[in-house]
């Protein structure tokens, strides 16, 4: 990797999203001041910086591509950035918006929700950033956290590729000595197929993981689905576990649709 200049420039762009991932910057608190001594933030609307077209070393992109003008805008961002890093479930997998991809009822939903749908211009499907432009690195999560962000920035500043940690959440859960909620309480935890990074947040509070960090490497969703059925979940409930925040990520999409199809076949009999 070629080294950066004296004070690398960073932009934070927003597409279709809730703005939550950008908070990973603001939540750094005092560390954001320290970081700003090492880098120059040029564009970051949530922090009051408005210069979207300034060329930068690293562009962080939040949100999915959900409207025709976003498709145009992401190309400009790509052209103006040396590295492009997608942050969060929307940018990396289409996010919650991609739920509309599942039923192909874009127009019906739009007309039912908006009083004057003629003013709404959206794409039929919501897409991840990588569907349109080259993405150099991805930070998964809904939302991502400051720890992930800092590790990514540090690596890039040190001139090494950021470590892509795709191991399962279970390993982190056990390192923290949390008790498995599936084994003790039959809760349908997605930890065994979900990418690490959140710090085992939900299991720390006795909750089952709902997969907001997306699929891990080497997922065995079929086995986990059978286990969920074994603890009493009906096919539709199992499908909904997978088809939620990261419904458009290939591993969860296939898993959810497979369970749904099997359930419908059974109902039809």
């Amino acid at each position: 990797m070629k080294p950066f200049g004296e004070k690398p420039r960073i932009a934070v762009h927003k597409f279709s999203s809730c703005d939550g991932c950008q908070l990973a910057f603001l939540n750094l608190g005092g560390d954001l001041i320290t970081l700003s001594q090492r880098v120059q933030l040029t564009h970051f609307l949530e922090a009051g910086l408005d210069a979207p077209d300034t060329p930068v070393d690293i562009a962080f992109v939040e949100g999915s591509l959900s409207t025709p003008d976003e498709v145009e805008r992401i190309r400009k961002v790509r052209d103006n950035s040396r590295y492009l890093v997608s942050i969060g479930a929307c940018a990396t997998a289409g996010g919650l918006q991609a739920l509309r991809n599942l039923d192909n009822k874009h127009d019906e939903w739009r007309d039912a929700i908006y009083a004057q749908p003629e003013f709404i211009s959206t794409l039929e499907h919501a897409h991840p950033i990588a569907s349109e432009v080259r993405v150099d690195y991805e930070l998964w999560g809904c939302p991502i956290n400051s720890r992930q962000l800092l590790a990514c920035i540090n690596s890039l500043l040190f001139g090494v590729p950021p470590f892509d940690n795709s191991e399962k959440l279970c390993l982190e859960c056990k390192r923290q000595q949390k008790v498995c909620v599936m084994v003790t309480e039959d809760k349908p935890c997605l930890g065994p197929v979900t990418r690490t990074g959140c710090g085992a947040l939900c299991p720390s509070f006795g909750r089952d993981c709902y997969g907001c960090y997306g699929p891990s490497e080497n997922t065995n969703t079929a086995s986990l689905s059978r286990r969920f059925a074994g603890i009493g979940l009906l096919p539709d409930a199992i499908a909904r576990r997978f088809l939620l925040i990261n419904s458009a990520s290939p591993a969860f999409n296939e898993a959810g649709l497979a369970v749904r199809a099997a359930g419908e076949e059974k109902d039809g009999q």
């Binding site: 590790a151 399962k168 080497n218």
Partner: protein, 374 residues
């Protein structure tokens, strides 16, 4: 037939607090199993009221439940998800720090080791056997100072098991259920109290100061019989003592593929295993960009990094990862440490989210009747 032994002194239930008090006066923080988040976990304890009095448990593949009973006993259960491992081999710790100095050089600092004296109450014989294996690994050749410091601060109050779980098979591995050595204090529990004996000089110092009654030989023999009976109740077996040959002559057995269809490769079995020692190390720079900590954390043969070499993960398939775990634990461990790496605690069975039971897999792979795959 059991060997004749002297009857140890007896500490009535109502005086059990004395043990905690004496340990605490001697400078130890005490930890004991307590009910937390639907399981038994080692937590700091000051009063015996916090012990799991009357708690019993049901363990099965992928299943762990506690039940409250009227029993006056504190140790009527087999184990929780933790062994001694997290106390000696930390799930995550800094090994050293480095920092860029004003003249552009690098300065390294050692991370401080853990030295707080810690008394662990209610250690099982399987966990003592596992500790011994961890000692072989971390202290056998190159001594790991972090492990050593954590190990040396421990005072072990062990207890013989009377209530094995359905998942237990320590009798098959020869590691339990009776506590025989490697402890500071050993206990046998009855409805009325504890038979107490010392196994070390430090243990003797504490035992001498306890207000013990003279032990009744008949009651002691009954207590030991309960332990022996609990061994007889264990139903899980291993297909042999040393499976190295049968495992390594069955590397292409179809069962590896079958188990991979169920296995999540989540690594839970290796994380609750009291002898697994795999770890990874990585650097965690802080926001300043001039300071970094070098961290060590538990890892697993089920993670992609375990077989990562020069840009390629060698064991991509779950069948390969499962085979690695079993062939090492029950096979090549013999070569490495002179025995199998399994102490029969059964945690890998209960804490597997999909309930895979290695004793079943081993029986299928190693049993002569199934033989090799053609």
């Amino acid at each position: 037939m059991r060997e004749a032994v002297d009857t140890p002194g007896f500490l009535p239930m109502e005086r059990f607090q004395q043990l905690l008090d004496l340990l605490s006066q001697s400078g130890y923080r005490c930890v004991a199993p307590q009910v937390k988040d639907s399981a038994l976990l080692f937590e700091t304890i000051e009063h015996i009221n916090a012990l799991p009095r009357g708690i019993e448990q049901t363990q099965a593949p992928g299943h762990y439940r506690l039940q409250q009973t009227d029993s006056p006993r504190h140790f009527s259960w087999a184990n929780g998800p933790q062994a001694l491992k997290p106390l000696t081999f930390a799930p995550r710790e800094n090994l050293w720090y480095s920092e860029v100095t004003a003249d552009g050089g690098l300065r390294f600092r050692e991370a401080p080791t853990e030295t707080e004296p810690l008394a662990v109450i209610g250690v099982r014989s399987c966990d003592l056997a596992a500790l011994k294996l961890q000692e072989q690994h971390f202290q056998g050749g190159q001594v790991d100072p972090y492990f050593l410091a954590r190990r040396q601060r421990l005072f072990l109050v062990a207890i013989s098991c009377t209530h094995p779980a359905d998942t237990c098979f320590c009798a098959a591995t020869g590691d339990g259920p009776e506590v025989r050595n490697d402890f500071d204090i050993s206990l046998y529990e009855t409805d009325r109290g504890y038979f107490v004996s010392a196994g070390s000089i430090n243990g003797e110092k504490i035992v001498q100061r306890l207000s013990l009654e003279t032990g009744d030989p008949k009651a002691f023999s009954q207590a030991r019989k309960e332990v022996a009976d609990s061994a007889a109740r264990q139903s899980r077996q291993l297909p042999g003592e040393n499976l190295q040959h049968s495992l390594f002559t069955n590397l292409d057995h179809p069962r590896w593929q079958e188990v991979a269809e169920r296995c999540l490769s989540c690594g839970n079995c290796t994380q609750v295993c009291p002898t697994c020692f795999c770890h990874s190390e990585n650097d965690v720079p802080d926001v300043s960009g001039v300071k970094t900590g070098h961290e060590r954390q538990w890892d697993s043969c089920f993670s992609p990094g375990h077989s990562y070499l020069h840009g390629i993960t060698l064991r991509q398939e779950t069948s390969q990862r499962y085979r690695q775990w079993l062939t090492h634990k029950f096979g090549s461990w013999h070569e490495q440490y002179g025995r199998s790496g399994c102490v029969g605690c059964g945690r890998c069975i209960a804490w597997c989210p999909v309930g895979i039971d290695p004793t079943e897999e081993l029986a299928a792979i190693c049993s002569p009747s199934t033989g090799k795959a053609d």
